[in-house]
Assembly symmetry: C2
Homo-oligomer: 189 residues x 2
């Protein structure tokens, strides 16, 4: 939890009152590799997770049974099924741990209460969201303009340690190709 306050304090001054409120709405959770935080189809998604350590991913299984990794999350990243978390309805993504993880968990209504009481925390969150929004924009632009090989090259530059943590078929599905295609790419010069 001190790590989280350090992370916040990099950007805004957090006083003791804010720390107290945050401590009261956030749970520190530990999960083992393979454990599931959110399950596709569960009736709603109320929680978001901040990664203190470890690595997680979110994925969807579509109608033909194929699995597509939507997001990886490492230390200092947030993860949830944001489509259901910010929107309405049941979860369309599953969130699972690729390694043993320590995360902070909180629900949306509690976080909104913190924002009401401490608008500077809301501002910080907004700027974080703007950064995430930029990352998704870049990802879409890259998806449109790069072939599979170039997307893989960018991915390994952006997430240097991911190949030692995620399975190749996770990475392939994140890139929008099959594991056979990724193997083919990895073998090429």
């Amino acid at each position: 939890m001190q790590d989280f306050f350090k992370y916040l304090n990099k950007n805004i001054d957090i006083n003791d009152e804010a720390k107290f409120l945050i401590s009261s709405i956030i749970k520190i959770r530990e999960f083992k590799k393979g454990e599931i935080l959110i399950t596709q189809g569960q009736s709603k998604v109320t929680d978001t997770y901040f990664v203190l350590s470890g690595c997680l991913r979110s994925y969807v299984i579509c109608e033909n049974g194929k699995e597509h990794t939507v997001q990886f999350a490492i230390k200092d990243w947030w993860i949830s099924d944001y489509i259901a978390y910010y929107g309405k309805g049941e979860a369309i993504l599953t969130v699972e741990c690729l390694t043993d993880c320590i995360v902070l968990q909180s629900d949306k209504l509690s976080i909104e209460k913190v924002f009401e009481k401490f608008p500077e925390i809301e501002t910080f969150h907004r700027k974080n969201l703007e950064n995430s929004f930029v990352r998704l924009n870049k990802r879409i632009v890259n998806q449109l303009q790069l072939n599979a090989r170039d997307r893989y090259i960018n991915f390994t530059a952006d997430f240097p340690k991911m190949e030692s943590v995620a399975k190749n078929y996770h990475i392939a599905s994140y890139l929008g190709i099959t594991q056979q295609s990724l193997s083919r790419i990895r073998t090429q010069k």
Copy 2:
């Protein structure tokens, strides 16, 4: 400008003081079809645009000369080069008008001042951003799991009037395919 206050008032109560400040930082602009609001490569992007009427798109031209449409914007949507607007550096996207347009234009620093003075407007913006974030997440999920034909079907459902406003090659490049492939898809049953 009254349309904009109506749009805001759908969600939050805007008092006269807020209206006055907003009026002082927002310019109403009119553009003709084909005009350019942001040019790829321009040294920085300080402005965002709210569409009162008409239709715009943003696109990137990559190294091989191909053009990829990143976003369409219709009435009540915001558009900019958000990678450069929220991030740093020169524009990587071009924003152009597909029809005659009326937009509201404001710069980021002025908008931040409005947020400081009226935190409820910042909250409204944050929720808007959350909705946009959800749309991008959905787009990525769709890009990963749907083939070109299904993406086209979804697109025409999401933007029913776009085909009468945008060129087919714009739509094809938004979907991540060539105009020949889009023609092929449109001809199929």
